[in-house]
Amino acid sequence: MRNNEIDGDDWLEQALRAEGREHGSAYIADDGFAAAVVGRLPPPVTAPSWRRAAVVLLWLCAAVAAVLIVPGLFDQAFRAAVAMFVGHRMGVADIGGVMMLLAAMTWGAVVYAMRTD
């Protein structure tokens, strides 16, 4: 005990201290105890394997549905955005290149989302 308030000559105090020292130095071997505890832990919470694919598919469906429902809006918005940033109107070839770039980025994002840890 670190609170040294009691007379050190007290026989009971000495006996308690001696027993405490013995207790502190006596190491109990693990002998499979830790493995038993880890074995009783609740099972890890893992999402089902199909969840990530389903999420990606739903987002793709939502994107396609949005394009189909409001045709022309995305083309106009894209042209306006490019004109604003680049400062001049773009040709079909330029738009095709940008679309290819976006498609590659989307593909990369999908592959990243579908990766296994």
């Binding site: 009971l12 308690l16 502190g24």
Partner: protein, 187 residues
């Protein structure tokens, strides 16, 4: 060259963030001895029950690890959980009939004093038995302060009571032990 051991704090972070069960296993390996020894003391040497409660202690620690604030040492936090598990079990057991305490002197007669047994060892055995007359709280205060070498303040945190109460428990425990072990008093 071996790498330095990973600190408890790093292991705890791995468990909390990544649910790293190897890290938790390492925490259990590091602290199992003191937790099991503490519970054995609290339970008067009942090793089987102590180990069961020690398992419960670590399972509770795993479930509540996110709540560990690192204001106290991890071992102190574990002591507190162990004590609560012990109290819960004691409350359950009190509903069952308990065998009557036999007198320490009578118990000592059965195996006391071969010439080879030192006085100190015999006193330790008697002391161990005399601990059974203490209340749960008194025994817990003695175990935390003498066996786990905690200060009164740390013991108060573990036992969930004021420092003054810890001191009172220790004082009363020592009075009871002195009365029980009167034959060992000098003079």
């Amino acid at each position: 060259m071996s790498s330095p051991p990973v600190s408890d704090e790093v292991l705890i972070a791995r468990v909390v963030v990544r649910d790293d069960r190897h890290a938790f296993g390492e925490l259990v390996r590091r602290h199992q001895s003191v937790v099991r020894a503490t519970l054995r003391k609290l339970l008067g040497g009942n090793t089987a029950l102590a180990d069961d409660l020690a398992q419960e202690t670590f399972l509770l620690a795993y479930r509540n690890l996110k709540q560990f604030r690192q204001e106290a040492k991890f071992s102190t936090w574990l002591y507190r959980i162990a004590y609560n598990v012990f109290l819960a079990d004691a409350r359950r057991m009190k509903e069952l009939p308990m065998p009557e305490d036999s007198d320490v002197d009578e118990m000592a007669q059965g195996d006391s004093g071969g010439a080879s047994v030192s006085r100190q060892a015999t006193l330790a055995v008697d002391l161990e038995r005399a601990m059974s007359v203490l209340s749960d709280a008194e025994r817990a205060a003695i175990v935390q302060c003498y066996h786990n070498d905690l200060s009164h303040e740390e013991a108060a945190v573990v036992l969930g009571c004021p420092v003054g109460t810890v001191k009172t428990h220790i004082l009363r425990a020592k009075q009871k032990l002195k009365a029980r072990l009167g034959a060992w008093a000098p003079g």
